[in-house]
Amino acid sequence: MGHTKHNPIIRAIFNDDDIVLDAVKDLRANGYNVSEVYSPFPIHGLDEALGLKRTRLSTAAFFYGLVGLFFSSWLTYYTMIMDWPQNIGGKPNAMWFLNMPSFVPVMFELTVFFAAHLMCWSYFAVNGLYPGAKAQNPDPRTTDDHFLMEVELEGEETDLTAKLQELGALEISKIEA
């Protein structure tokens, strides 16, 4: 989450997904900026409650698949029609289109190959995931059964902490920007 202004961050720990989801809705309705939630599993509806945009990874996968389809079409055209045409089982080799039915399996496989692998690489890249990366979660309990919420502090600190306590936060701490 890119912060333009550097406000201090209030971290609140919760122990239930429903409480976190309700808290996010409540805070945002009251004008607070919930900048991040760390959770041990996906919470359905949390992305909408946080106002996150839809991910474009599936659209990207579609275009990656197209790259695979074009690559395999070119590969079969270049090797089988242009570079060294041969009569194999009497199959027509004068035009790519006529020989194409026997290239369909390879074209399909390469489409899937490109779509799946390039999408996963994009996923790792946009999430900043790579072997040996430092753990992104500030508290190790958030991969077990705790939920950590980060709220930007804009007004009075006591108001926000009181609000978080009322919403069910178990621990509250302040991080200076």
Partner: protein, 462 residues
């Protein structure tokens, strides 16, 4: 929001909290290996070493050490190849197809089923590689420019389609598996005490932190990968069946092969998942997560796919008769009544008759019975491939060249070796990887956990 109909049986038994799930799934990784694990690992490792010896002997001496002859020039290696690829199919079916159908029971078993997929496809891949004879030339199957005036691979050949299908299948299954593993590795990383262990899981978990945006992408990527893996898994065994169906051998040249092979693959794969999970749930005390409900569901899939396979066998017989082609008719008559009649009837008994017993609820919820049937099915499916391959070619058009096939100790040794290698990989996996997708499982605790369901029932809340 977390409501599920009380008619549906709970998928997570006992009074579990999120933390209990974490502890139960991290336990096999954190505790010492049970004695039974060491015994199983030792046996598998010895089998593996025996297979390595037989493979080295084959490569050093040549394919002549196998039982192949001029008439039966494709036998054990291709039988084993198709058998292992088929087993792999259930993993993808569980993780991809059941995800698209929103079947929640998949969550307890998808991790191990996918591990099984990857490990069995590795075994499958070994057979064509060693059958090449000069395995160091294996890269010739790739379309790369070469010193022969760019003599390219033949994209018209089903064998080359197989190269692309199997390699795509193996690598896509591996990334699908790994994307799901990352949050679970992070869970083990965050609770590890031993610094070496912490470091290993830090590398494996790629720094995962469970941010809201990352979970959103995680779910999207899982869904799209499932969408890609579903046609992929169907294509793989379809293309394997093309290895036979595009030839002009009576008994192979049939259009029914693609769906018939795919159904058989799912059938044998589910049987292997049963075999493995019945052991895993016992050794690692996962009975609350992989319970009778899961086993019954899988048995129903076995029953269904076994019936599809049975219909395919009968259709084949009918079409052979109806075609009016005497060679085609003889190929099937020879299968059922020729010198390999015992292989044919083993296949029929194991694959068509035995799964029909699953119509009885008492039997399909019985663990011992399930275990026995799961092994019987895989024996039957091995015979199916043997019957299709060997009985179709051992009596060709020229009766003077009719012959029989008998495997040598090398054929048998390599097959045993792959079973050993498979179990070596699976046992290592079971000790070091989270065997259940715990992050996903936590999302259904409130809707499908026994205690939560009971609570809903008592209070009538929706």
């Amino acid at each position: 929001m977390h409501y599920e109909s009380p008619i549906r049986n709970p998928l997570i038994l006992g009074d579990k909290s999120y933390s209990d799930i974490t502890n139960d799934i991290a336990r096999p990784v954190e505790s010492k290996a049970p004695r039974l694990w060491w015994i199983a690992f030792s046996i598998a490792f010895i089998m593996f070493l025996w297979g390595v010896g037989c493979i080295l002997y084959t490569i050093g001496t040549g394919i002549g050490v196998w039982g192949l002859n001029k008439t039966v020039d494709w036998a054990w290696d291709i039988t084993n190849f198709v058998w292992w690829v088929g087993i792999g199919h259930a993993g993808t079916l569980i993780s991809a197809v059941l995800l698209l159908f929103r079947q929640k029971w998949r969550m307890a078993i998808n991790r191990s089923a996918e591990a099984m997929t990857i490990f069995s496809v590795i075994q499958a891949g070994l057979f064509p590689l060693i059958h090449m004879g000069r395995i160091w030339m294996a890269f010739w199957v790739m379309p790369i420019p070469n010193q022969f005036g760019s003599l390219w691979v033949n994209f018209n050949s089903p064998l080359l389609w197989d190269v692309f299908a199997i390699s795509t299948y193996l690598t896509v299954s591996a990334v699908f598996w790994y994307v799901g593993l990352i949050p679970d590795f992070a869970m083990i990383r965050d609770r590890a005490i031993n610094p070496v262990q912490k470091h290993i899981y830090k590398i494996l978990s790629f720094g995962w932190g469970g941010k809201a945006k990352h979970w959103q992408r995680f779910e999207e990527v899982s869904l799209v990968l499932a969408g890609l893996a579903t046609p992929l898994v169907l294509s793989v065994h379809t293309i394997v069946s093309f290895d036979f169906a595009t030839s002009v051998i009576p008994g192979w040249h049939t259009t029914i092969f693609p769906p018939y092979f795919v159904a058989g693959a799912i059938f044998s794969g589910f049987a292997m998942v049963q075999t493995l999970l019945l052991i895993v749930r016992k050794i690692f005390k996962m009975e609350d997560y992989i319970n009778i409900e899961h086993i019954e569901m899988m048995n129903i899939v076995i029953m269904l796919t076994g019936s599809i396979v049975g219909v395919a066998y009968i259709t084949e017989l009918f079409v052979a008769w109806y075609s009016g082609v005497e060679y085609e008719q003889y190929a099937f008559l020879n299968r059922a009544t020729g010198p390999y009649w015992w292989a044919y009837w083993s296949m029929m008994t194991c694959n068509v008759f035995s799964p029909q017993l699953m119509w009885s609820k008492k039997l399909r919820t019985n663990l011992v019975f399930t275990f026995v049937i799961s092994i019987v099915v895989n024996i039957g499916m091995w015979f199916e491939r043997f019957v299709i391959i060997v009985t179709s070619i051992h009596r060709d058009y020229l009766p003077s060249s009719w012959s029989m096939f008998s495997p040598t100790f090398v054929d048998i040794g390599i097959f045993i070796g792959t079973i050993g290698f498979f179990f070596v990989l699976f046992l290592l996996y079971a000790r070091s990887f989270p065997v259940i997708a715990q992050a996903e499982l936590k999302t259904i605790l409130k809707s499908s956990g026994e205690n939560f369901k009971k609570h809903h029932g008592d209070h009538g809340t929706h």
